[in-house]
């Protein structure tokens, strides 16, 4: 399974660290989470197999090296094999040192861009006037477009009240169906969420905050985040034993640990607020909340940062029309 492959009109994109994380944690049974930074031959071999299998129309490939700081020896052979099959390869965010170790530095292209010790672009071919060198590559945009076009398929007309807030929704995002049908993109999204969590709470992560799941979908997400971030979890079942039995919440929530609430989609955040209030009422400390998708109902400047949901995709003013997603009330517009 390759999770990060994104096929665009002009190139095929692969995120090598994301693939390494899947390979080492799920195929090779390493327990390094997202903290490993060494690319293994078996990972690049799996990508090479995928390229052979798919026979893409585009012959341009982007390998994103972000977070890869070392490589298994002789790994360059597989990359060169792909190149020898007629593919034009662009390496992005690769360190100069790694380029040298892989003996790629002998390939010169005047479009290569070095910023500090990092090549933001390193072309594995010497023709400086190839069309590929004119294409702008922004991994965040590539992911955004891919996610947007995919999630669109799972947004259905709704027009019923929101399940936990007193508003109407024009549409409903069927996250469960998305998770079932788009497993690769789901895993890439959870990987990206894990990176965001690690970046946002760099210091707190060391003290092992606890990931809270509070829905069936978030249970699956939390299970994977626990592997990626090496964190404990807590099942916060609204109607289950945790709230009813032995006042167990009291015993489960510790004032010495911090908590991160994990959701699949945060619309108005009502459910998150309920969970957060319960945790704080018991004396727990809520670090924040994360979600795959959030709805930005306020302008950025109006959001209180500490309450903001960390997500890998936002439904917002710039895309809600395209996604056919809106929130409204029964009140008459003034």
């Amino acid at each position: 399974m390759i999770i990060s492959k994104i096929v665009t009109l002009n190139f095929i994109y692969f995120n090598l660290h994301a693939e390494e994380v899947i390979n080492s944690n799920y195929i090779k049974d390493d327990k390094s989470g997202i903290y490993g930074d060494r690319l293994q031959i078996s990972t690049i071999d799996r990508i090479a197999e995928e390229i052979d299998k798919d026979n893409f129309a585009s012959k341009n490939i982007v390998f994103d090296f972000k977070f890869i700081n070392a490589c298994q020896p002789n790994l360059n052979r597989t990359v060169i094999n792909i190149k020898n099959k007629g593919y034009k390869i662009l390496l992005i965010d690769i360190s100069k040192k790694l380029c040298e170790e892989l003996a790629f530095d002998s390939i010169e292209n005047s479009n290569n861009t070095l910023q500090g010790d990092i090549f933001t672009k390193f072309y594995l071919f010497e023709n400086a006037h190839n069309n590929f060198t004119n294409i702008e590559i922004k991994p965040a945009d590539i992911f955004y477009e891919e996610f947007k076009s995919t999630i669109k398929k799972y947004i259905n007309p709704h027009s019923l009240p929101h399940s936990s807030s007193f508003v109407y929704l024009t549409s409903y995002v069927d996250m469960k169906k998305f998770m079932s049908y788009e497993k690769e993109l789901l895993l890439f999204s959870i990987y990206k969420l894990a990176i965001k969590i690690k970046t946002k709470w760099q210091n707190e992560i060391e003290y092992g905050p606890i990931l809270i799941c509070q829905s069936m979908n978030s249970a699956f997400i939390v299970s994977i985040l626990s592997t990626f971030l090496k964190l404990d979890i807590l099942i916060f079942d609204k109607i289950g034993p945790i709230n009813k039995l032995y006042n167990r919440l009291d015993n489960t929530i510790s004032d010495k640990r911090k908590y991160i609430i994990v959701s699949d989609l945060v619309c108005l955040g009502t459910e998150v607020k309920i969970v957060k209030s319960l945790i704080q009422f018991i004396g727990g400390n809520c670090l924040g909340n994360v979600s795959l998708i959030k709805t930005e109902t306020l302008k950025n400047t109006h959001i209180i940062k500490e309450n903001a949901t960390i997500a890998i995709f936002s439904i917002k003013r710039a895309n809600n029309k395209e996604l056919n997603y809106d929130i409204f009330t029964d009140l008459e517009s003034l």
Binding site: Q72, S180, C213, S215, S226, D232, I233, I235, I239, G240
Partner: protein, 600 residues
Amino acid sequence: MSKVIIHISDLHVTTHTKSNGEINQNIESHLDTNSDNASSNHYLKLFIDKVKEDFDKVEFILLVTGDITNSGEKIEFEFALNHINKIISGLNIKNKNILIIPGDHDVHRRSIENELEINPTNESHLLHSVKFSNFSSFYKNLTQREFPADKIIINHINIENKIILLGINSNYKINNEGGKGFIPIESFGRELVELKANLNIENLNYIACWHHNFTSGYEDKNNGQWEADNRIHLLAELERQNIKFVFTGNEHTSCFKKISSSSISTSDCGDFCSIKYDSTFKIYPIQIGSDITLKNIIYALQKPNGNDFKLFWDIRNNGAAKQPETIDLYIENTQLIKDVDDALPHTSVQDDNVKTEKRIEEKKFYDNQLISTKLYNIVKDKKLYHSGHFHWSETSRAHNWIDVSKLLENKEDLYFVKNAIIDVIETFNLNINCDLIVGLGYEGNIISSKASIKFNIPYTSLPYSYRYNDHDNYEKKLNFENNDGKYKKVIILTDVVNDGRTIRKLIAKRADDFFKSVTEIIVVSIFYTGHQEINTDILNYNMLPEDYDFENDHEVNNIEFYTVKSLRVERCPYKKNYKKECFIYKDDLSCVHLFYDEKK
């Protein structure tokens, strides 16, 4: 050139003259630090000559599994270096073919005590560089390599890309007061995975080599000289890493034993140079062909004590010593494809009766004692087995309950449980031709993630059938259509199964549109809490006991069931009259809990 492993251990090179000039009267080893090396040299020569006599034109690999010295003193290591170098030069052993592992007697306790005087700590076993200071110098001088005191895997020898001898340090918990064998599991697993990745060779046969015995040939106890809990975890990890053989020393007894309830065997070569007791070593000639095997040759020191010659080495009879002639690392199985095919349940309708009979005869069930024991220990340690009166539905009541959500909270326990599920699936090849995995409830969703990713099988989830009404509609949709019978084999993963009523309800009522075209329904659970003897058939309606309450149940007979651990809970004996007769419920005597919303 064929290759031969020489396995020696427990040399116990002992200080001959004490610091006050007194001769040590308690020397029990033929190898000591007497500046007149004549006796030690004679002993080594007997050994070298015998090996050379029996093995001509072979490449030797030398394995020394610890206790090279008696008390880790510098002088003992200086003489040990000299003694082992004689073996190396006498048998022309290449540097790359030497695997030396420390034992607890190679830990220098005085160095630890000195360090503690300056820097007191109650974790003196963690002073690795201090406790191995003398051993490290010896190791460097002998092998020209630095000794990695903080690592678990010290070194390895790759034998023709087929066998890996892993040198492992089992002295993690040894401190100035001694201690037992202990290997930190996570570090060991991580280092091994790294090594495997670096080697990047498929189908390697790993042999772990360390000092401490983890079963006994001499002492009448199963644990050997190993910390009990760590031993269970280690055995599970070895199983997981597919390591089937461990070469050890420490017990001063030549033996070969299979660890009960596991597929792991251990070979102890015995004490190399005991004056008082049995002295032995082993030689394992390697045979690599379509099969990969080691011959297990035991050499024992004969002590005729004649006036012309006192000692000689001779081969011991394996049969009489109750040890196998060969160690089978890999035996080509030409029946493999046929066996797998036979192991898969057959699906044709007309075979159903035959299939049922065959399964009963086979008594097929998951039986990895190491994994189920570890799971049970987590339940025990975390106190997750509760008593009270618990309801899962109007027809399902018990006086015990296992708190699985608490079990899954710790990341290590969660990792273990996910891998236990993987182990069940792999043991019975359940993933082959599987079309869909369904996780049940929050817990099922959590334990399923690894299986769904590792085997790359489509995945969805459903609520527990007794909680259906508590969930939103979108959570109750399976999202996969099966009108065309595309999904023939489905695995359902869940945390606990009792009598299977809720599973049958799910299949026959909640998601019957989908399941009516499914021919193989495999249910895998962490726990089975029911009362039947475990077998793959027990969740089928036709297999329910006569006294079962069949009311409101559903007739489903194509379920194949596997569980990691059977842990019975007691049913509430008052059946429908529980409200009047069950004193726990009636008088609120202990915890009374409903796992569903009665109002719905």
